[in-house]
Symmetry: C2
Subunit: 278 residues, 2 copies
C-alpha cells in the first residue's frame, strides 16, 4: 500500500555532501561504483520502486529530482521506504551536480544487494523457460537493448559470460527502460561452462549467427529454450558454433549483419511465438 509522501530536502549547493553520490555521474561511469547504480527517468524510477517492493535485490539509497518534476512523480515516491531521502534542486543546481543535462530531471542512486548466482538462478527457473544467453557483449547500449527485448518477449533469465559488460551501468539501465531491474540475470564465468549448465538443465540451446544452419522460423518448440548471442563484431566463436545447434535470420546477402539486439529481438519474437509465450 502506498505510504505518505516522504519529506523533501532542498539542495542549493552542488557540493552538498548529502548528494555526493550524484556528482558527475557521467565521468563516474568510467571508474565503477562498487555495487551502486544510477537510474534515470520516471519509467525507470517506477521500476526501481517495484523492485524495492518485491525484493529483487535492488534498493534505492537516495533520489534527486528537478523541482518541477516533484509533483509528477509523487505516486512513485510514496512506494519507497520512508528512510530513502528525496532531494530536490533547481535546474542550475541539478545540472551542476549531475554534470550533464540528459537526466530528464529524475535520478535515483541505487544499490545492488549482492551478485546474483548463476547456479541458483538456473535452478529457480520454471519448467517451461526461455533464456537469453550472451557472450562478449561489450557495448552498454546493446546490453540495455537486449534486456528491453528480453522483457518484451517474456524471457525468464538473461545469462552472460564474464566478458560481457555490466547491465547495471547507467546507460544500459536507461536503454533497457529499467528492464535490468525486472528480468533476473547473472554474469559470470566462461561461455563454455554456461552452456554446459544450460544443457544439464535440459535447455535446447540455439546459437544465433548469419552462418546458422537453419532459419529461426524452423527452431522447434521446446519446454526450455536458450538463445545464445555472440559479440557485436565477431559473433559466436567457432568452438561454440560447432558445439551447439545454430540458426540464422534471413537477410539480404553482402551486408554487415544486423545489430545484436535487433537480431535478438527478431529471434526472441520468433521463439516466443513458437513456444506460445506471447
Amino acid at each position: 500500500m502506498p505510504g505518505a509522501l516522504p519529506p523533501v530536502l532542498r539542495i542549493d549547493d552542488p557540493a552538498d555532501p548529502r548528494i555526493a553520490g550524484f556528482v558527475s555521474i557521467k565521468e563516474r561511469d568510467l571508474t565503477g561504483r562498487q555495487g551502486r547504480f544510477i537510474a534515470e527517468g520516471t519509467v525507470v524510477l517506477r521500476m526501481l520502486a517495484a523492485a524495492h517492493e518485491t525484493g529483487r535485490g535492488f534498493a534505492a539509497e537516495a533520489l534527486l529530482l528537478l523541482e518541477n518534476r516533484l509533483e509528477g512523480v509523487g505516486d512513485i515516491l510514496r512506494r519507497f521506504p520512508p528512510d530513502v531521502p528525496v532531494y530536490v534542486a533547481n535546474a542550475q543546481v541539478f545540472d551542476a551536480i549531475a554534470g550533464f543535462n540528459m537526466h530528464r530531471g529524475v535520478l535515483a542512486l541505487g544499490r545492488r544487494e549482492g551478485e546474483p548466482d548463476r547456479d541458483a538462478l538456473i535452478a529457480s527457473l520454471p519448467a517451461s523457460s526461455l533464456v537469453l544467453a550472451a557472450c562478449g557483449i561489450s557495448n552498454h547500449d546493446n546490453m540495455g537493448a537486449l534486456f528491453r527485448n528480453a522483457a518484451a518477449f517474456g524471457v525468464d533469465a538473461v545469462l552472460m559470460d564474464e566478458t560481457s559488460c555490466d547491465p547495471m551501468y547507467r546507460k544500459a539501465i536507461r536503454v533497457s527502460v529499467g528492464s535490468v531491474l525486472t528480468v533476473p540475470f547473472a554474469r559470470e564465468g566462461s561461455v563454455a561452462v554456461m552452456l554446459q549448465q544450460l544443457q544439464d538443465a535440459g535447455f535446447a540451446i540455439w546459437g544465433l549467427s548469419p552462418a546458422g544452419t537453419i532459419d529461426i522460423g524452423a527452431i522447434p518448440a521446446a519446454q526450455r529454450t536458450a538463445l545464445l548471442m555472440g559479440t557485436e563484431g565477431e559473433g559466436l566463436p567457432q568452438s561454440v558454433m560447432t558445439a551447439i545447434q545454430t540458426a540464422r535470420i534471413r537477410q539480404r546477402p553482402g551486408l554487415d549483419s544486423l545489430n545484436v539486439s535487433t537480431a535478438a529481438g527478431i529471434a526472441l519474437h520468433q521463439v516466443a511465438l513458437i513456444n506460445g509465450r506471447i
Copy 2:
C-alpha cells in the same frame, strides 16, 4: 577499376585551414552543415566510395586519416576520384582536430548533391517493392538503426515526413553502418500526403502499433507493401491509425513497447519473408 593511391597530405597543425571541415565535428552536429556530412569508420568509407562510383548523389570532399590507418584503407582510397584530398595526422593532431576520439581514425567529409524528391523516388520504384515509411522519428540512433534494418531486409526506399530527423547526421550515418548511403530515401512534407502518394502508387500500407488490429504474421503478401512507423514516444497519431490498416507485434502485456527500430526490424523481417524478398 581502382586507380592509383592518391597523394597523401600530412597535417601537423590542427588549425590548418585545409582540414577546417573536420574541426570539432561533434559540436558542429548541433548547428547543421549545409549539405555536408561526416562519415566515420572503414565500413562507411567503403560505402561512400561505392556511392561515389554509382552516382547516388553523395560525393566525398576530403578524407582525414590517422596515420596508422592509412595502409589498411589503401584499396578504398583508390576508388575515390584523384582530386579528393587525403589528409593524415598523428593521434594527437587528429584528436585535436575532431575534438573527440570516437572516430576510429577514419573520417570523410561528404557532400549531398541536392535533396531527393519523393515524387521522383516513388515513381522510380520497381513493380515489386517494399517501402519503410516513418513519421516523427526524432532520435538519430533510431534513424540510423532503421536504415540498417531497411538494408538488411531489402527495403527499396525509406520515406520520412518533415518532422523526422535528418539521416545524414553524423551519428545516424554511423549507426546505419553506412546504409543511408545505399538505401534511397526522401524526407519531406506531411505524413498524410506521403500516405496518399503511396496509396496512389498501389502500396498496401500497414501501420505498426501495439494497438494494431492483426498480428504482423497475418499481413498478406502484396506486390507493393509499405510499413509505417510512428514516433518513439507516442507512436502513430490516431488520425493515421484510423486511415490505414494496422498490425502489432505480439509481446508481453504491461510493458513499454519495443524500441522503434527493433520493432521495424521484426516487422520488416516478417514482411520480407512473406513477400519472398529474403
